[in-house]
Symmetry: C2
Subunit: 353 residues, 2 copies
DNA sequence: GTGAAAGCGCTAACAT
DNA sequence: ATGTTAGCGCTTTCAC
């Protein structure tokens, strides 16, 4: 039965075709700018398109073409500045290439990460940018590998031969931090991190340790790692200080850790940098307006996103070859939270590297 | 030509069917749990499914069913805690109902907002949750109306009869702020906001003004509104203080404004609450660890997301009727940044409402 | 230059 | 209980 005009169903390519007095095939050609269509018909098609407000359904079109112009992005959370701007960048880059980005949050759960990846697989996305909850050996990465999905791993990853990976050079950045702090005279450090994020945390920690060992072999580096949640870390930190430990500088390896450290400083009435110095991994907007301003390692979000997309599209376009690992350098923003040990004047606000 | 076994194309429903020795229709039935299939065949189908790793393509299935189990979410930015957690919540709620959430950022641009909405329309999403850049009269909302898309507007919106809307009760929250501050003895206020976010800012401002007028008719409320960007606001604020204006309390109507205010306080060497008090709209994690901690209005993200999805799905399921507007109450977290004018002791850390 | 026909992966009537 | 057929909206040979 013919459809009534008043029906609210959206115009399909056939509606346009009959309205323009041509076939659907011709409409399709016009929409794709194929030049072999007679100008008169092109005209008629455009008129019908405008009249009906026709827009092709990209999903139907993709179905026929047996390819999806969709990139999946999976991140541990949307709530942080880091992953928020990462998704923004990835979206921009995907759209720039005519793809849509579908972002999903794994909510720091490896189980959910797997489910989300299964959905991406079901959707037949062209490729995935995965920021794993833990590291490159998680179930999600394994799933991707098993299903032969094309993808790139970012952020919390070490080398793996299954995928290209891109992350910031946490070891290098931590060496910068060590150099700064040692240069100011610090010899007793506390480093805190979350063990679950094994890949990144270990890099950062080892980079720091190695640099300190080289620059000041006599220095002491204490480490507090909590397994998976931030609250145990708070407890451990509290115990540590309660025992009377007094490092002159604290280096937090992840952003929420910086908040925990600050709140413990508050509890004890310690002020940076006079009572103790603080550097955090991951910069945030608020860190430059508080009193004191907080020194931080700035991750190069745009570079990471750019490299990740670059590599991903190369793979999508069929490039073979061994997987590559790329480390993007970080900047270190020294701010007021860092000074010489023992309440000396701080080092000023210059940016390094 | 028959496909070779080694081909890496994903298994389709036909592959499963032939493998199980039944028709595609039967496989489809089994996948949907239709009970009229002979147990023996159910078994065979499952075996084939497992063997081939078959998973239905939800997009193809949706195409056939002429409906898409996709909800679109459009927010001005992914970078803030507020919108980040909003997207997280919306994703959770959509998935709970068997839909996928596709989130996009309008990047604070109304032009882009329109484009993003056009894409959602092209995708034939079942519904959209739109947090407009400016207000309910923007081009995106107009587009949604014109295309008869089903959607709900959140956050920066006033009433509109075209859509259901959900936002936090900015006026009520601002009245709470006014009550607190007036109660402490403040009589000279500065309120800052971004004019472009017309809908919310006006509500919040008027709520504050009205409450102050009622509680302390003699009080003075200065207002600085910048049009669209945050930098002009910084300039205006600087000029204002340079002129010698000394309100005893500042109320920032949006989160980035709070950062601007803090950085201007820093420039002038003013400390909260002794030199001046500060309350910001929008809470953030860091506000409870800095010195001083920053008082803030907490928006009920989960309630907003919950109501929005609730209403959206009602509409998707065909519910008619006039559009409704819902305001969710906020909480006010008093913190150390607020005290009595003139450097008196601050009011403590209780939470109100 | 154009359109008929086939088909992407799936579901839903409708015979059987 | 099952398979055949038709078709969602689109693209792509391939005759004409």
């Amino acid at each position: 039965m013919a459809r009534s005009v008043a029906e609210k169903r959206r115009a399909s390519i056939h509606d346009v075709a009959s309205r323009a007095g041509v076939s659907a095939a011709t409409v399709s050609k016009v929409m794709q700018g194929v030049s072999t269509v007679r100008p008169e018909n092109v005209q008629r098609v455009y008129e019908a398109v405008n009249l009906l407000g026709y827009r092709a359904d990209p999903l139907a079109s993709d179905l026929r073409r047996a390819r999806r112009r969709i990139i999946g992005a999976v991140v541990p959370e949307f709530e942080s500045e880091f992953f928020g701007s990462m998704v923004t960048e990835l979206e921009r880059l995907a759209e720039q290439r005519g793809y849509a980005l579908v972002a999903a949050s794994s909510r720091e759960s490896e189980e959910r990460e797997r489910e989300v990846l299964a959905r991406m697989h079901d959707w037949r996305v062209a490729g995935v940018v995965l920021a794993p909850v833990r590291n490159e050996h998680g179930p999600a990465a394994e799933f991707m590998r098993a299903q032969r999905m094309t993808g790139v791993l970012i952020d919390r990853v070490n080398a793996t031969d299954a995928f290209d990976i891109v992350s910031s050079d946490g070891a290098g950045a931590s060496a910068l931090v060590a150099r700064e702090l040692v240069g100011l005279g610090h010899r007793h450090f506390l480093v805190i991190g979350l063990g679950e994020q094994a890949a990144t945390v270990r890099n950062r920690l080892e980079g720091f340790r190695a640099a300190v060992a080289e620059l000041a072999p006599d220095a002491r580096v204490d480490v507090i790692l909590a397994e998976s949640d931030v609250e145990p870390l708070r407890g451990a930190l509290r115990d540590y200080f309660a025992k009377g430990e007094r490092p002159t500088a604290v280096y937090s390896l992840f952003s929420r850790g910086t908040l925990v450290v600050l709140s413990e400083f508050r509890r004890r009435g310690w002020h940076c940098p006079n009572d103790i110095s603080l550097v955090g991994f991951d910069d945030a907007e608020w860190m430059q307006v508080t009193w004191p301003t907080i020194a931080a390692v700035v991750q190069p979000v745009r570079q990471i996103a750019g490299q990740a997309m670059e590599r991903l599209f190369r793979r999508i376009e069929g490039e073979e070859g061994p997987s590559e690992a790329r480390l993007e350098p970080c900047r270190l923003l020294m701010r007021e939270s860092v000074g010489a040990p023992g309440g000396g004047p701080h080092s000023g606000g210059g940016a390094r590297r």
